[in-house]
Amino acid sequence: MRARAGLALAALLAAAIAGAVAAARTGAAPPRVAPAGPLPEVFLSDRTAARLGIREGDTLELAASPAGPWHLVRIARVYRPVLYPTDVALRGLDVRLHLPDLQALLREGDQVDSIVVRLRDPARADEMVARLNAVALGFRAYTSADLARRNSSTFEVISRFHRAISVVAILASSVFLAAIMTLRGEELRRQVGVMRLIGISRRSVAAAVLLIATGVALLGSAVGIGLGYALSAAINVYYRRAFDTTILFSQVTPALLGLVAALSVALGIAAGAATAWRLLHRPPLDQIGR
């Protein structure tokens, strides 16, 4: 069966499972389990390797608790893990073992809480989950997308928070826009007054004011989008360096762009309509400032 093959080949257990924390040995030696045959091989994350100052090919002693017993293992590979955003700020040591080695280390033969299965074809995850859940009793399979959804209420809150921030930012900038229009209003008022004096109809004047407002709004959102991209890139550079990861911290999505552009154009038109209404309800002679 494919699932079993997957397990045997590539299933490496996240060492975050209780107890399987690597401990670099110091001090007097508690009981040691001497291996009969080649040393078990483990993977070390690059961060852990850097903190312990060891490299591929070095050996390491692991224990489930400080009291031991200690197991000698060989570092087969130092790799760069794909971190979940939740793990980014964690500074623990981590090591990945083959399942039998982990069981030997924990001395808990069948007591594995969870295993991660990497599929050759991730597109078939749902199908695989359904098949696993249909054949096996005593455990439940989830796709990683399901798990992320189940565990991501925090992210949901944060992302709502972010959306709220952007809406507030957009509203603030529209107020700013409206203020600019009012400040420029002196100039605009005179222009409206002149247009009406020379006989341009109210409708044409209103259309011109709306056009100007929409243009200003579009220009504003273009500038805002540019700023958003620049800020987003800066945030990513900063936090990727700070946490030494490749995770994308900030992303300007097309949906967000659409929202921003639509909101600012709608607000621009609303501001323009209000301005036009205000300007068209005063005598033109008062507007040219005699």
Binding site: I198, G199, I200, R202, P283
Partner: protein, 241 residues
């Protein structure tokens, strides 16, 4: 308007207008501004006729009501009492929209401070009233260029007002005022912001425009401009002196 009235007006204004040449007229026009701080009598009974093909200058001390009279003649504002007739129609009888249409097609305005639209080029400024009047694009383009050429600015047609001198801006404003071939051109201190040479250029243009058949009314403190007018009206304290 009957002949007797026209004659009476002519006597007031010091000329002899033929009724069929009258473009705009004021008959016993009074304009009162009521404000919280008190009432201002800007015009106290003005009777005047403006004719095709003449340059009429209005002079008088500041605050005597010159601009007010100009605005009433152009249908921008309405009299408190008396009648202003513009192209045969009493302005008070027309709706706001009808007055706007009348101004668009038959009245040109020139202001002391030019009042061009800064976002538009000279050519676009001139074309704007034609666009509103529904002139087709190639025609209005051709005419805008011809008008700019007439005021000596053919080479500046693609420049925006900010790139032009005061005299040039005023010439663009005159070209704009002429866009829809108005019967009446009203200019309120058109040389007020210009030096003598540029002012003289504007005076010469207005003179020409009136010779071409337009009725031109110019409010001015510029004695040279006032002097080349066909008729000069002196105002004092809301009346014709």
């Amino acid at each position: 308007m009957d002949d007797a009235q026209a004659v009476a007006q002519a006597q007031h204004a010091g000329g002899a207008p033929a009724p069929d040449r009258v473009v705009a007229s004021a008959d016993a026009v009074v304009k009162v501004y009521r404000m919280p701080g008190g009432t201002v009598h800007a015009l106290r009974g003005i009777t005047l006729a403006v004719e095709r093909g003449t340059l009429l200058s209005i002079v008088g001390p500041s605050g005597c009501g010159k601009s007010t009279l100009l605005h009433l003649l152009g249908g921008v504002d309405l009299p408190t009492a008396g009648t202003v007739t513009l192209l045969g129609q009493p302005t008070a009888s027309l709706s706001d929209a009808a007055l706007a249409r009348l101004r668009l097609r038959h009245v040109g305005f020139v202001f002391q401070r030019f009042f061009l639209l800064p976002m538009l080029t000279a050519e676009e400024n001139v074309a704007l009233p034609m666009m509103e009047a529904g002139v087709a694009q190639p025609d209005r383009r051709r005419r805008a260029r011809a008008l700019l050429e007439r005021v000596g600015l053919a080479h500046r047609s693609q420049h925006r007002p900010g790139q032009l001198s005061g005299g040039e801006m005023q010439r663009v404003a005159i070209a704009r005022a002429l866009a829809n071939r108005p019967a009446l051109l009203l200019a309120d201190e058109p040389t007020g912001e210009l030096d003598a040479a540029a002012g003289w250029e504007i005076a010469r243009l207005l003179r020409e425009i009136s010779r071409d058949g337009c009725a031109v009314v110019v409010v001015t403190h510029n004695t040279e401009l006032a002097a080349i007018a066909d008729r000069q009206v002196r105002m004092r304290d809301g009346t014709i002196a």
